[in-house]
């Protein structure tokens, strides 16, 4: 009896009727403590200053419930555009619908979101593929590797998927252990330490992002092991440092451009608000692989 009515029905005309103007933007990030998302924030704040709009940045702290509430707060605040980096691409769907019902344009960033008017994402499957192709090439197409996965959210899982595709295509490469960390340096270090102890014959490590990969690199150094290649994903400044450091075992990272991605998403969103829908709902940005060999040409975030 208490389930009549449904708040999440989009209003008839859909969202973003066109002809509007963007003065207030809400940017929702899944975890600002990750430098990748922090770079997105910085990029967006620069853009806001340059273009003269207001931006409210909120950290989801990896919690879908929090992101739900933040969307509601943005609705009250009367933003015209929400740039959404969701903790879970589908779980956020109902909140997206609420925002749209209030006439707000929602553009998904980095991770697609169910029902979003448009999405600007890195191809995370491709990123995983690039990383592992580099890894497999470096270890000569055969050997044992470790997987250090991340929190069960879309982007890390897509990267794992991409990497697995490469491993399946290379039957001489075996995943001997896989553990899930918390997307940070400390868990990369702790897990890799124990995984290396259990597995003496290891040639490579794939980590779903740079912090975990760099943690694993520290573990290798502390265990005084050699001949192990580490790859991450993101192309972060710390990864660049490691690539330049001769002691490091870090080999490659498919680089994304977080600030650029955020700015692109803003452009797309602004377009929709003003009545110009993009031709494709999803704008896919391809990652570019950076390795020890070509790091000097990479300009970084």
């Amino acid at each position: 009896a208490c389930t009549n009515g449904d708040e999440t029905k989009p209003n008839a005309g859909g969202s973003g009727g066109g002809g509007g103007k963007v003065t207030k933007v809400g940017l929702m990030l899944q975890d600002i403590s990750n430098p990748f998302f922090a770079a997105m924030q910085t990029g967006m704040q620069e853009e806001a200053k340059a273009q003269g709009f207001e931006v409210n940045v909120q950290d989801g702290r990896q919690d879908l419930g929090t992101q739900n509430d933040q969307i509601d707060a943005f609705i009250s605040q009367g933003v015209q555009l929400i740039l959404l980096n969701a903790v879970d691409s589908e779980g956020i769907g109902s909140a997206v619908a609420r925002a749209q019902a209030a006439g707000i344009v929602v553009v998904a960033v980095d991770v697609d979101a169910t029902g979003a008017d448009a999405a600007v994402t890195t191809d995370n499957v491709l990123a995983g593929k690039q990383a592992c192709e580099a890894l497999v090439a470096k270890i000569g197409g055969k050997g044992n590797i470790l997987f250090i996965e991340g929190t069960p959210t879309t982007a890390p899982q897509d990267r794992v998927k991409g990497c697995e595709e490469v491993i399946t295509a290379n039957p001489d490469v075996k995943i001997v252990a896989r553990q899930a960390g918390k997307n940070d340096r400390a868990s990369g270090l702790a897990l890799a330490t124990d995984m290396l102890t259990a597995n003496k014959d290891v040639q490579g490590i794939f980590a779903i992002n740079d912090p975990e990969g760099l943690g694993a690199d520290l573990a290798i150094q502390q265990a005084s092991r050699t001949g192990i290649t580490v790859v991450g994903v993101d192309g972060s400044p710390e990864a660049v440092k490691a690539l330049e450091d001769p002691k490091s075992n870090f080999w490659a990272t498919p680089a994304q451009d977080p600030a650029g991605m955020a700015k692109k998403a803003y452009e797309v969103g602004k377009g929709i608000v003003e009545g110009n829908k993009p031709a494709e709902r999803i704008t896919l940005l391809e990652p570019t692989l950076v390795t020890r060999d070509d790091v000097k040409d990479y300009k970084g975030w």
Partner: protein, 325 residues
């Protein structure tokens, strides 16, 4: 005077402290709302009030169960994980074809079962609730993951989606559910024999036992009821996000405990009120909402929240000094 039963008239001081005792933390809430009304754009709007109420509902429901547990002198760190397990159970049931009400009941039952297990350890083995629920917080989280094989399970046309997203006469369903939960808990605690027993067990468990109270049963029931409340919260959560999330509710236990303590319930047990908890939950909710509206960077939000929690209990303790001195 040869003392007989003297119903001494309530003096002015007693009335004041009695009154302050009841509204003290409420005054903090009002103060906070006034501050936010000035500082936070659009804070004072019907829409935003609805948002706050909806955002608060899940924590408030968890905190109602937590209040009962804390009144017995216990604590439940596993409510967040219980919420996740219950949401997973509800979504799994619904996606495997169960009608909405059955899925809802299934989720609540999963929560109640988790609570019952906690209660069994606390009641029968007299283990400290803190460590029992620290353990169950961990294994229940693991259970939520393993039920889903680590992946969120999306169910866009969830049978019971209305309980998270619907509205009754313009009021969001989660808010309605929250109000019903509080009425039930208030009634249980203030108007029933069971409620008196809850306070007695928390106040002095040995005296309760010697007074003939079945303290084990009381504890078992309390943990089960709190588990059921967490289960209900899990159902609402899954309906709001239209999916089963293994990470749902992470760290929610801390917000729930904060609401209980802000609401004036003593962690030592035996003293407190469930309606105070609702006020405590609203304080946290208003604060979070206002800080977002004011566009405060998230790490300053953390600083402000932490400081407000400490200040609010400080204020509250000064009130109690007043009562004593």
């Amino acid at each position: 005077m040869t003392a007989s039963v003297i119903e001494q008239p309530r003096s002015g001081a007693a009335t004041f402290s009695y009154w302050w005792d009841k509204v003290g933390i409420f005054a903090v809430l009002i103060l906070m709302c006034v501050v936010m009304a000035f500082l936070a754009p659009n804070f004072l709007s019907v829409d935003n009030a609805v948002n706050v109420a909806r955002a608060v509902s899940i924590n408030a429901i968890l905190a109602a169960g937590m209040t009962m547990i804390i009144l017995t002198g216990g604590i439940d760190l596993s409510v967040g994980s219980t919420l996740a397990v219950a949401g997973v159970a509800g979504v799994l049931l619904a996606t495997s074809g169960a009608p909405g009400p059955i899925a809802i009941l299934g989720g609540i039952a999963a929560g109640a079962l988790a609570g019952l297990i906690n209660g069994a350890f606390v009641a029968w083995l007299a283990l400290p609730a803190f460590i029992v629920t620290l353990g169950s917080m961990t294994y229940l989280r693991g259970t939520a993951y393993s039920l889903l094989d680590g992946q969120p399970l999306v169910a866009s046309d969830l049978a019971y989606r209305g309980i998270g997203n619907g509205a009754v006469a313009g009021i969001p369903t989660p808010v309605v559910v929250m109000v019903v939960v509080y009425v039930v808990f208030w009634f249980l605690l203030e108007r029933t024999r069971f409620g008196r027993h809850v306070y007695a067990v928390g106040g002095n468990i040995e005296a309760a036992r010697l007074a003939g109270i079945n303290t084990k049963r009381v504890l078992l029931l309390v943990y089960t009821i709190a588990g059921a409340a967490a289960g209900l919260a899990g159902i609402i959560f899954s309906a709001r996000v239209l999916s089963a999330q293994p990470t749902a509710g992470t760290n929610y236990e801390l917000d729930a405990i904060a609401a209980v303590v802000l609401g004036g319930t003593a962690l030592a047990g035996g003293r407190g009120r469930v309606l105070g908890t609702l006020v405590g939950a609203l304080i946290i909710g208003v604060l979070s909402n206002g800080l977002v509206l004011m566009n405060v960077p998230f790490f300053y939000q953390l600083i402000i929240k932490g400081v407000v929690i400490v200040l609010a209990v400080t204020l509250d303790s000064l009130r109690q000094f007043g009562r004593k001195g």
